[in-house]
Subunit: 385 residues, 2 copies
């Protein structure tokens, strides 16, 4: 069977003006999710945060929804499969459709680079929480750029948030936060899922954050011939090299930045939290601010009870004063439903007992973006003051 | 069945350091496509441009590949489905996987907003064609911004290409090209699929294009209560209002631009070519340059033999001098395998016979991005000189 491409595009030309015909029926008291695309009515969210998902797949024999919990969908006489989920907690949840056991992204939703592929997600609004919404305040940009990495030997993408007024104040220099995504994500994580620009725009408009640049790189750097695994020395050396020899010089050569430790922060989530822990604490001459969000380093996954902070960061338990003197902020956060919370709290307690200054925060939620948006919102207010 | 999210992320944390384990076997003489993500080996392209696609779906009973032509895939004893396609023409092709008749994006490839959803695509390199590759030349930015549209009543995204040196020359003003995507696409089309930034970076480095800003808006504007369909008066009025009352003021208020007709161009592809035809030719006091790429307006789809240029653009056939005097360039292009080519050539012939100045170009290819990349590459060299 040959499908004529022109016919396909002709159809699109027509459809582009009549997409409303395609909108799935949205039940009363439900609203289309903001993560839907192309005016799709569903997924749609009920007032109690149950969500209706629909899939028009008349020929399929088994369709499921994987939203952390796996739901079987049922088919109506028009071949449309649907399910109404349990009430969802607020925030951003990756999900998949599953046909015959094969997982893929839902064409009705926006896709995001996460879980190692372009994945669907649904963003459930949280009552009274609007710090990451677009508001009528001055807006910064997210600038997509490329740089050549001498470490990886490739051109790489980086996103850079510049605060409102950056272009209109050409003599003003800014501090920089270097922020890292999690495993299976890339430089799009903080720029898209994380809503870094709107969080910073709103904080700056309220006078709660110092106007800053946020560099949002791709932390998945590899170096030919180097066996970098997990947080081993090779992996941390490659990450540091990519950051110190490529990313920071790129940012400092191309943006008007204040180039000293007092004006540099490093933070990240999950895998990026671990990278920030190692790279920040091992280089307190480079960064005065270190933020570690939801890392599994301290335990909670794979029974990492063996983590020895002193072994990887010499002096952190035996000479905390050198860290207290050289850091303005060491910040750790985690979700309250994340199984990393107990070991994280225990680690924080150990640090505090040894006299290390550490600020700890927890937020409702699992190992998900809502916690990381809140972590950034909290952390950013404490920087460069 | 409950899938624990933490387990999922723990797995990712591990995987993020060992993705090489996941790479599908790439046959000798084949190379992974540049559109693959996450170090996936396939889709992979043989030297003769046949492509191997693989899908690991052991439980599925029927898997197909829709690459314009529909291919049945076959399953091996490990549950991996595969197919080797016919040789593909160079360029960017949207494609889908199909299981049980349901089409969706391939998790092995990058997804792009096109065909009204996040769609997979494969980019087949063209021998000797590198004008859209990343090269070691000064690079501009793609800036993602938001503006509030009084027309649609919503916040909307826009991408803005700024040329190399924009930040370092704060007293220099630039001309602007306003460029429109096609049906089923949005402001990501020219920024991502179109590679506008690399095309302009390379042309500027070679001294072949005047440094310019390229505004890449979302042309799918709708206005509450207005029944805009196809190219009817209401649709063209809404598009014009969005462009003239929202987008152009946003660009001119936020960027250092030369704000006169001599320094404004409008162009677009397919649906966006039609929008540019109407809006450019009806407003020659605003734009000195009009580019129409692969529009179906002149025919080739749905037997649009009824198109009457004089009726929609009064004077275009009866008073061509007023257009010749008020436009520096009226440019039309189309793909040589696009079924729009014959009616487009006929329309160009009619224009020329009436004495209207029009530049015509055709490029090998169907109704696809490779033709539009070449159209921009050609058109951009003719602007603002």
């Amino acid at each position: 069977m040959i499908v004529n491409r022109n016919y396909f595009y002709s159809l699109l030309l027509l459809l582009s003006f009549s997409f409303s015909d395609l909108i799935a029926q949205v039940p009363e008291h439900a609203k289309p999710a903001t993560t839907n695309i192309n005016q799709n009515g569903c997924p749609c969210i009920f007032q109690d945060n149950r969500v209706l998902f629909t899939v028009n797949a008349p020929e399929a024999t088994k369709v499921q929804l994987d939203l952390g919990q796996l739901y079987d969908m049922s088919k109506n006489d028009k071949g449309v499969w649907s399910v109404i989920t349990n009430p969802q907690v607020p925030g951003f949840h990756y999900y998949s459709l599953v046909i015959d056991g094969y997982k893929f992204a839902d064409p009705a939703s926006e896709s995001f680079y996460g879980t190692g592929r372009m994945a669907s997600a649904i963003d459930i609004p949280e009552d009274g929480v609007d710090f990451y919404n677009i508001k009528d305040v001055p807006h910064g940009d997210i600038r997509s750029q490329v740089y050549f990495s001498k470490t990886t030997g490739t051109w790489r993408n980086i996103n850079i948030y510049t605060p409102p007024g950056y272009d209109k104040n050409p003599n003003k220099d800014y501090p920089v936060l270097y922020i890292q995504h999690g495993g299976g994500e890339d430089e799009r994580g903080w720029a898209v899922q994380g809503k870094t620009n709107f969080i910073l725009d709103n904080l700056i408009a309220e006078g709660k954050a110092t106007p800053m640049i946020v560099a949002i790189p791709n932390g998945n750097a590899t170096k030919p011939g180097v066996n970098a695994r997990g947080y081993n020395d090779e992996a941390m050396a490659v990450f540091k090299e990519e950051l110190f020899e490529n990313i920071i010089p790129f940012v400092e050569n191309n943006y008007r930045v204040k180039s000293n430790a007092a004006n540099r922060a490093i933070s990240g989530l999950s895998m990026g939290g671990g990278q920030s822990f190692f790279t920040g604490l091992r280089n307190t001459d480079v960064f005065d601010y270190v933020g570690v969000f939801s890392t599994g380093l301290f335990g909670g996954i794979r029974e990492q009870a063996s983590f020895n902070a002193e072994a990887v960061i010499p002096g952190i338990l035996t000479n905390p004063k050198s860290f207290n003197d050289n850091l303005k902020l060491f910040y750790i956060s985690v979700g309250e439903q994340d199984n990393r919370i107990d070991p994280t709290k225990k680690m924080v307690e150990t640090f505090k007992n040894k006299g290390l200054h550490v600020e700890f925060a927890s937020f409702p939620g699992d190992h998900e973006w809502q916690v990381w948006r809140k972590s950034l919102h909290d952390f950013a207010q404490r920087l460069f003051k």
